[in-house]
């Protein structure tokens, strides 16, 4: 396009020279400037996806500060040059019209979903001053226990802020995810790892639902590659999913009974001495506890497991033998590997860990291994803080009653509503929500009720969530394309590799990063923690440069960005000592530490929390589809078009039994509540279960695409009660996110 002869900054043409600026020109000059360049600015930027945790490397094309195209980054160990559907739909998050754009405050003091909050735009300065003043007020008058931060503990500067003001109640969703595996791996092998060496596995045992479609591209590629290499894949799942399709064998297991099958497999491997003797004798505490181990598992026979799981005893025996004999077997534990779904999740991941140990593949080719990564220092290493104040006060979720779960410092989402409503009513006065909504909790109505008693709510997010409806202040937050960071590869990491996540575009409107919020609140509330040794404020760009340099990734972050990927190729040297706590350098099958803390040193059989009975005769299943990210992607235009609503998925056999037609409206009830939606027939799930897809039912009516669509699967999932967790030995704090039974009535 060529430049016009006209310059609109002065009157000319028809209006004539010599006149004073017209109102139109005056207004024009208030909102326009002379163009710096007549041409569009084009560039390509290396960055990393942020939709899920592997943060696959990507490259983005940018025109005039607008991301126009994304694709995978060749050479990246996670995405291997590709992005999954969610990653490719990244622009749908970045450019969602509903994004929060400016800090806003409520002007209507009456709170409720039916009240108009009367939000008005305010400056960041006013927002931060008000929040700091409220935190100070509640902390002084009601103690640090009155503050609740619903947020992951990252980035490090944000965690520093939380620690600097002595927060007791920081909670995140990991009890609904892999927290039980954090608890178990800490003591059995030395720590939670995301690395599964599928490429070299000969036998992959998948307890769980849909690791292939739901989980990460890196896993999906890994499992498909393994299949191509001739590996056998066995899948236990009450519904037939893409993972089942990619498996060599699929068993339509009874919900919540995976533990029985895992225990019976251990029984076979131990009683028949099929375990990897070299590994087990050298690197585990098997010998020391052999008598207890053999005695413990002897009762869990395949025949017993069949009665609970519907998996034939001879199949269990055969699979156990194959698993032990393949030489490179793996049983990954991922979030939906039932780590969290049922009350027996901790015992299940302990049993899975034992299977990997018995196969002798921990940190060995074909097994679960620990990532070899660059050592990137955190802010506390770069700028050592003064001693943090003790986090003194009561935990609203009661997590301190479960010492093992407490020590890994993650959840508990499942018991928070019970704590707020029943155990410590009125204790939480101030809540700050970052990138979480009430939909993320079991039984959202309970959390919504609990929230109404919180005097001051702050929401930092990129979209208007349901929680924003109850907020006093709303802060517009960034998505990954607007931030910079160092992304270590930690899902496929035989040798260190890091990708530079550089901000693809600057945040639009008045959107700011959580690092900015941390710094600004920190300056106001705990300034000593936000200064460098020479007394100046920490600068986040300088911090990132320093981290880059100390990690050996470049002279500074810009230098790292110019390389995009930095790696240090090295041979994979298997570990000979393991960091299992209390293990003296060995892996632990028998975990003495679990003798206390309401645990069990060896996993025992426990049923799931809610079992079918005459009132609620059917299992309830929930599912996160491959194209959505939990409850935060339903408003993404691209993903919404693929799936924008949910239904009650039901086997035609069960439907015939209860008189439901395809498409008919049904009422599903549990002891926690009821939901109403349309039935959809599918042969792909058991005929004693009904399945509802998670993530729908946002009530924020004005979310253009997701608002008011579908129902919340969680409305019929009971909240957790910490005393029940203690009594039933749910010592890793599994959130029972699917532990419900229901009845179904046609409408």
């Amino acid at each position: 396009m060529s430049l016009s002869r006209r310059n609109l900054f002065q009157l000319g043409g028809a209006v004539g020279a010599g006149l004073a600026a017209s109102p139109s020109l005056q207004a024009f000059e208030n909102y326009f400037s002379p163009a710096a360049s007549p041409y569009a600015d084009m560039k390509t930027v290396v960055s990393a996806c942020g939709v899920c945790s592997p943060a696959c490397g990507l490259q983005a094309r940018v025109k005039d500060g607008v991301m126009t195209f994304v694709e995978g980054l060749p050479g990246d160990a996670h995405g291997n040059g590709r992005l999954c559907g969610k990653g490719a739909a990244g622009a749908g998050f970045l450019y969602d019209p509903d994004r929060l754009k400016y800090p806003m405050k409520r002007t209507n003091p009456r709170k409720g979903f039916d009240e108009d909050p009367g939000f008005v735009r305010i400056t960041w300065q006013e927002a931060l001053d008000t929040i700091a003043e409220k935190i100070g007020h509640y902390k002084t008058n009601f103690g640090a226990e009155s503050l609740m931060f619903v947020t992951l503990p990252a980035p490090d500067i944000w965690l520093r802020f939380i620690k600097s003001i002595g927060v007791v109640n920081r909670i995140d969703h990991r009890d609904e995810c892999f927290q039980t595996d954090m608890v178990v791996q800490k003591y059995t092998t030395g720590g939670k790892t995301w690395c599964n060496d599928f490429a070299n596995s000969k036998y992959i045992l998948l307890f769980g639902w849909d690791i292939l479609a739901k989980a990460k591209l890196v896993y999906a590629n890994g499992i498909l590659d393994a299949r191509d290499n001739g590996a056998k894949v066995v899948h236990f799942s009450p519904s037939y999913t893409p993972t089942s399709r990619a498996s060599s064998e699929w068993f339509n297991i009874r919900p919540g009974s995976d533990l029985a099958v895992a225990l019976a497999m251990i029984n076979v491997i131990v009683s028949e001495n099929r375990y990897n003797k070299d590994f087990v004798d050298t690197y585990t505490n098997f010998a020391k506890y052999e008598t207890q181990i053999r005695a413990h598992f002897s009762e869990y026979t395949p025949a017993w497991a069949e009665t609970l799981s519907d998996v034939p005893a001879d199949a269990i025996t055969r699979i156990a033998r194959e698993f032990a004999g393949s030489g490179a077997s793996i049983a990954p534990a991922h979030k939906k590997t039932l780590c969290a779904n049922y009350n027996n999740g901790t015992q299940l991941v302990h049993a899975i860990s034992i299977l990997n140990i018995l196969a002798g593949t921990v940190d060995r080719p074909g097994g679960r291994y620990f990532p070899r990564t660059f050592s990137v220092p955190g802010v506390d290493a770069v700028y050592p803080p003064p001693a943090y104040p003790a986090a003194a006060g009561r935990r609203v979720d009661g997590r301190d009653k479960l010492p093992h779960a407490h020590a890994v410092d993650a959840g508990l989402f499942s018991t928070t509503a019970d704590g707020m409503l029943n155990k410590f009513p009125g204790m939480i006065k101030f809540a700050m929500w970052r990138d979480y909504t009430t939909l993320a909790f079991p039984h959202p109505p309970s959390m919504e009720k609990a929230l109404q008693s919180v005097e001051f709510n702050v929401v930092y997010d990129f979209l208007p969530t349901d929680t924003a409806s109850l907020a006093d202040i709303v802060l517009p937050g960034t998505v990954n394309f607007e931030t910079s960071d160092i992304m270590n590869r930690d899902y496929n990491a035989k040798y260190p590799q890091a990708v530079a996540r550089s901000a693809v575009v600057p945040p639009a409107f008045e959107i700011k990063s959580v690092g900015y919020v941390a710094m600004e609140l920190g300056k106001r509330l705990a300034p000593d923690y936000f200064k460098t040794a020479d007394g100046s404020w920490i600068n986040l760009s300088t911090l990132l440069n320093e981290k880059t340099k100390r990690a050996g990734l470049g002279e500074n972050f810009a230098d790292f960005v110019s390389k995009g990927i930095v790696e240090k190729k090295a041979d994979f040297v298997p570990r000979t000592t393991f960091g299992a706590v209390g293990g003296g350098g060995k892996c632990q099958i028998y975990v003495p530490a679990f003798e206390t803390g309401h645990g069990e040193p060896l996993p025992k059989w426990h049923p799931k929390r809610d079992e079918p009975d005459s009132t609620y005769p059917y299992y309830y299943l929930t599912y996160i589809p491959p194209i959505h990210k939990r409850n935060s992607s339903q408003n993404n235009a691209i993903l919404n078009e693929m799936m924008g609503d949910n239904e009650a998925l039901i086997n035609p056999k069960l439907a015939a039994k209860i008189g439901v037609k395809n498409g008919q409206r049904v009422l599903i009830r549990s002891r926690a509540g009821q939901i109403e939606l349309n039935a959809k027939f599918t042969e792909l799930i058991r005929d004693d279960a009904v399945m509802v897809i998670h993530g729908f039912g946002h009530r924020s009516r004005l979310l253009t695409k997701a608002g008011g669509k579908g129902v919340r699967d969680g409305d019929i999932i009971p909240i957790g009660n910490i005393d029940d967790f203690v009594a039933t030995k749910n010592f890793g704090g599994a959130s029972c996110i699917m532990d419900a039974v229901v009845n179904i009535t046609p409408l």
Partner: protein, 177 residues
């Protein structure tokens, strides 16, 4: 071809409507003393009690529980989004005339900006083929915005705004015919 309405009136209409869309506080909008259109009267009235208008602006256009009427053309495209093709096309128009929006980190296809630019094209006597092309590319879409605004607005200022944009649209359509 039907003639455009009296030039001063359409310019005033575009200039005031553009500013009401860009400025949440009516107290900060300069209304020429001789302006006598309905919207100018409503702005003057709103200036006496600006808080109600500010609240209404937030509810309609910025609401963090969800926006009633989005201000950007790209949101009304077949694939609604921020910073869509209309943003780039608007930027091209502006640059062709040596201008760019001061708010460089906000979309260029904000209806307020589009109206202010349109006013300048007309005021500068750009030929009809240019103004008609611009109208078709960057103003005509606002019918959907206007009907939403008409349904959702509760404050007289924004009801008057909806009517004003409607008459701008009608004039533009007439000219284009």
């Amino acid at each position: 071809m039907t003639k455009m309405p009296e030039q001063p009136q359409i310019l005033l209409s575009l200039t005031l409507a553009g500013q009401v869309l860009l400025q949440s506080d009516p107290a900060l909008i300069a209304v020429p003393s001789d302006a006598g259109i309905a919207l100018s009267d409503e702005i003057r009235l709103a200036q006496t009690v600006p808080d109600a208008a500010v609240l209404e602006y937030s509810r309609l256009f910025l609401n963090p529980t969800g926006v009633e009427c989005h201000l950007w053309q790209s949101v009304y495209a077949d694939e609604p989004r921020l910073f869509g093709p209309a943003h780039h096309s608007a930027l091209e128009w502006f640059r062709r005339y040596g201008a760019e929006p001061q708010m460089s980190n906000e979309p260029a296809d904000h209806l307020g900006l589009l109206l202010l630019f349109y006013a300048r094209l007309i005021e500068e006597g750009e030929p009809a083929d240019v103004t008609v092309a611009y109208f078709n590319e960057h103003i005509a879409w606002a019918t959907e915005f206007t009907s939403k605004l008409q349904q959702q607005a509760r404050h007289p200022l924004y009801l008057a705004l909806a009517r004003e944009i409607q008459s701008i649209l009608a004039a533009g359509v007439n000219q284009a015919m």
